[in-house]
């Protein structure tokens, strides 16, 4: 039972982390109609920045904050230099152009930081377990990820639904010409939105950094998961990607930890040992297939797409 609760919390933490990535992806798609494969690169860059800045300043939190803003700047620069020219093009052009950007970023990171991975050590006050209820304790760092991502998700909701900027973002998503005609600097708005998406990806990367190794290509695996989430949630819908991200986080984490045991009760040990890893990694894709059979536009599709 303790294990189950712990895995549920892990699933929640992973799901919330995925939400940060998927939110940026779906925001950029919903508003600029841009398919951004290089989103995973920004996740990677956030992690590298955090590892570097934390080593410079000697403070984990300071390094993380600096990395967040540095990724924001990188994202805005990428938008101004490259992405801006891709708006209004075919999706195939987006795929190709951003694929080129992935090659560039992966190699640039290899050039700057070297081919070996980096690690981001946790400060001692985070590297402990906190007792939630007597007899059950949980990693303080993972718990802090849950708190931070929930706060960010809430902040994002307030930003999009309750502020003037958010109103402009939503208006830009439904009719960009009209927003431009009303005298809004749509170029600047797009740069900000892209930067925001990049910063969210960077935040996900830097929070994941102490758990995994920081290495070239780390963004590519998780990018696919973020894609699956945006598809399940309905592309362009932040609410949809929030729910889908939690769903995927739970299914993936619980599937990996309990699926082998379930199989073992049904099949012979050898058959279970062969099938379990393959099947548990297939689980979320099966989930996606089922969602698409029922609702080809995702669970919460933004209207008109």
């Amino acid at each position: 039972m303790t294990l189950f609760i712990e895995q549920c919390l892990n699933g929640l933490q992973f799901g919330l982390l995925l939400f940060l990535l998927a939110a940026g992806l779906t925001l950029v798609f919903g508003i600029m109609d841009l398919v951004n494969l290089a989103h995973g690169s920004l996740y990677m860059i956030g992690a590298y920045f955090a590892a570097t800045f934390a080593a410079w300043t000697g403070s984990f939190v300071l390094g993380a904050v600096m990395a967040f803003f540095a990724t924001l700047l990188v994202g805005m620069a990428v938008e101004v230099i490259a992405m801006r020219r891709l708006y209004g093009r075919d999706h195939l052009d987006h795929v190709l152009g951003t694929f080129g950007l992935i090659l560039f970023f992966d190699e640039a990171v290899r050039l700057i930081w070297g081919p070996d991975g980096m690690s981001l050590p946790l400060p001692s006050w985070l590297n402990t377990a906190v007792t939630i209820v007597p007899g059950f304790s949980y990693s303080a760092y993972r718990l802090s990820i849950i708190v931070v991502t929930l706060a960010v998700a809430g902040g994002l909701y307030l930003l999009v639904m309750r502020t003037r900027i958010g109103m402009l973002i939503r208006a830009g998503a439904s009719n960009r010409e009209m927003v431009g005609a009303l005298g809004i600097n749509i170029k600047l708005l797009y740069t900000l939105v892209f930067g925001l998406g990049a910063a969210l990806a960077g935040l996900a990367g830097l929070m994941q950094a102490p758990i995994l190794t920081v290495q070239v290509g780390m963004g590519e695996n998780i990018l696919i998961l973020a894609f699956v989430i945006t598809v399940i949630g309905g592309i362009g819908s932040i609410r949809g990607s929030f729910i889908a991200a939690l769903f995927v986080g739970f299914v993936d984490t619980l599937g990996r930890s309990f699926f082998p045991d379930i199989l073992r009760t049904l099949l012979s040990p050898e058959a279970a040992a062969t099938l379990a890893p393959a099947l548990s990694s297939m689980l979320i894709y099966l989930l996606m297939a089922i969602v698409l059979i029922v609702k080809p536009e995702g669970l919460f599709s933004a209207s008109g797409r």
């Binding site: 152009g97 992966d106 890893p277 393959a278």
Partner: protein, 320 residues
């Protein structure tokens, strides 16, 4: 009647590919033959992708899955001691066709960017499945100790013979795709790309047409996979990693989606460019990446588009 620049370039490309082993014989540059065998095989995969991507407007981002499935069919059978190509290759084709049928049936229910992401996700699923099968090497891949056997009359372990087999299959594929897109079937597919609603209104069940097209492309992709596995004498999950699908799209777009042979230009250009850049610097993708972006921004239509736009210099007519 004069030959257009585009047709002449296509003829010259294939003549060049046909004569390549002679050049290799003369210079003794064995590496060139290995490189071009690889190019020819990936060109086959790109030509098959172009059938759905260029002509069908179905932006599949999971075409590398068929390379992997075709390859694993050969590898797994070889691992179990079945080395006859007459068994291996049909199984490779059938497995790819079946996978394409399932993926296509589900994915074609969706449009646009959903389609891109779903095909991508299915390919990743295939990637994780083979990574998880410990019996066939899992993450480490599977070494193939013996190339597919076709009896005494066709020895695939002879590099020149194997090159010509690959080239013959490439040419057959280009011909097949060319015939297909110019047939009634191809017209329906292309019609569905530009206006699906209208095609349905005329009475064509476009979903079925597109699905058949998708399966044909997948099967041909599986053929390329079987060849690639024989060429490398090795198959690993990374064969179907999504960046490989990206490479195939790059080949198609770089070469041009407008003609059946376009992707062959793209495959040759991309892989030769990679080879040249990697001799200049170890960090060659840092040049290739931005180059791709520039191609997307400024050279739409690819090499084929440039060739199609090129005309012979006009001859001055003699005055009467």
């Amino acid at each position: 009647m004069t030959l257009s620049v585009r047709s002449l370039a296509t003829v010259l490309l294939f003549v060049g590919l046909l004569l390549l082993p002679l050049y290799v014989q003369a210079t003794g540059d064995r590496f060139l033959l290995t490189l071009f065998t690889r190019i020819v095989i990936l060109a086959l995969a790109a030509v098959s992708l172009n059938l759905i991507l260029g002509f069908g407007g179905m932006m599949s981002f999971g075409h590398a899955a068929y390379l992997g499935i075709g390859g694993y069919a050969v590898g797994m059978l070889a691992h179990e001691g079945i080395v006859s190509g007459l068994v291996q290759w049909p199984v490779a084709l059938a497995a790819s066709a079946l996978f394409a049928l399932v993926v296509g049936a589900l994915s074609l229910r969706t449009r646009g960017v959903y389609f891109i992401m779903i095909t991508l996700a299915f390919a990743q699923m295939a990637y994780y499945v083979v990574s998880g099968i410990a019996r066939y090497g899992g993450d480490d891949g599977l070494t193939i100790y013996k190339r597919s056997q076709f009896g005494a009359w066709l020895d695939l372990s002879n590099k020149v013979v194997f090159y010509y087999v690959c080239l013959a299959l490439l040419m057959a594929t280009v011909y097949l795709v060319w015939r297909l897109v110019n047939s009634r079937f191809g017209m329906v597919i292309q019609g569905a790309r530009s206006n699906e609603t209208r095609m349905r209104a005329i009475g064509f069940p476009t979903y079925r047409y597109k699905l058949v097209c998708f399966v044909i492309a997948g099967t041909l992709g599986g053929l390329a996979g079987a060849l690639l596995a024989n060429h490398n004498e090795f198959v690993s999950p990374s064969t179907m990693y999504w960046t490989r699908s990206g490479d195939l799209i790059v080949m198609v777009v770089l070469g041009g989606m407008g003609s059946a042979a376009g992707p062959v230009f793209g495959a040759v250009a991309l892989l030769v460019l990679e080879e040249v850049l990697s001799r200049i610097t170890e960090y060659w993708p840092i040049i290739l990446g931005p180059l791709l972006l520039l191609i997307v921004l400024f050279a739409r239509g690819g090499i084929d588009g440039l060739l199609a736009a090129t005309r012979w210099p006009a001859r001055k007519k003699a005055p009467l």
